[in-house]
Symmetry: C2
Subunit: 187 residues, 2 copies
Amino acid sequence: MYTELRQQFEEFIRLTDAEFEYVSSFFQTKKFKKHSIIIQSGDIVEYEYFVVNGLLKTSQTDEKGKEYILQFAMENWWVSDYQALITHEPSTFEIECLENVELLYLSFSNKSKLCSEMHNMEYFFRLKATSGFLNLQKRVMALLKNDAQSRYRELFEQYPSLFQRIPKSLVAAYLGVTRETLSRLSV
Amino acid sequence: MYTELRQQFEEFIRLTDAEFEYVSSFFQTKKFKKHSIIIQSGDIVEYEYFVVNGLLKTSQTDEKGKEYILQFAMENWWVSDYQALITHEPSTFEIECLENVELLYLSFSNKSKLCSEMHNMEYFFRLKATSGFLNLQKRVMALLKNDAQSRYRELFEQYPSLFQRIPKSLVAAYLGVTRETLSRLSV
DNA sequence: CGCGCGATTGAGTAATTTCAAATCTAGTGG
DNA sequence: CCACTAGATTTGAAATTACTCAATCGCGCG
């Protein structure tokens, strides 16, 4: 269960066994059933989560009940309401399990501690933050430049497996169209 | 000219005079006239830029000549084509001065060096990356949830000064609507 | 005074949404 | 094994929204 975590770190940094053992002592593990809500709108957020197994979504719902998906998180992704985590303000997102999931979780204070004790880890998380930043840049440009059709194709090409795992209505909520419109795309 | 840079760092970290002098030795300074192109699509990107003074835009233009703006960068913002900077692939963005600007610039390798030598700086840039990430999250959610009207209001409330400094057509290209549509918003 | 850029307005068109209904599908219990 | 049901997907039609293209307006500057 910690194997995936170690691989995650070793994509960018090198850790001795002892170091990794120390690092992993900051994490705890938990399983959730499909449909569980990890973070609810209004919650104070204390943890961020590394997905060992399963699939989750981060979303907001407007007054009319329409859902908008910020992010799907699958294996080896990190997920939380980072805004709420960092500011200690109540969450504005909901994070829900779309499958049974296994998570490793790390508290904000433990992350700070890890980063300040190990330059390594600070580096790792800088790169992670940067890569999240770049992914969102792509997303913003796609939302500005591309119509629903090509946003769909792009997502499909990048994460074909996603489409086996979730209903199309959620894809629509991620792409920013209604499920009816998505269904009408010739693809 | 380096005062602003020091303030920028000291929002998050503490630096002695000697440390700051060392850090700032990694930066160089340059002025550009309005309309100058700092980075052109296709360029290999070597630097990131800290805006001391002035205003720039980062944008892409599609086949039909329509422009889409990823970011405006004003005083105390960092700007570059980070994707290109990190991957060493040719830039897909254009960065243009909307006013006369004064920039401090830092090469990718110098940033790496700074970050590896000073845990401090690694920390600073982790926080910067994180805050950029959070800003883009807000932007994505606004693009999904809000219509042009409320995106306009939101931008206006957050950066009222921007509207004194740039033509509305650029605001439209940032919000993801045509300038005609923007002009028709009752606001 | 007139040029040129930016902003606005009008009219027709295209894309997307909304609301409603029909169809399909996978899983459940008899 | 089959009928049933809930959820998911598709389809239809009308309404809305934004877009395109073209023309006009307004203003600052040479």
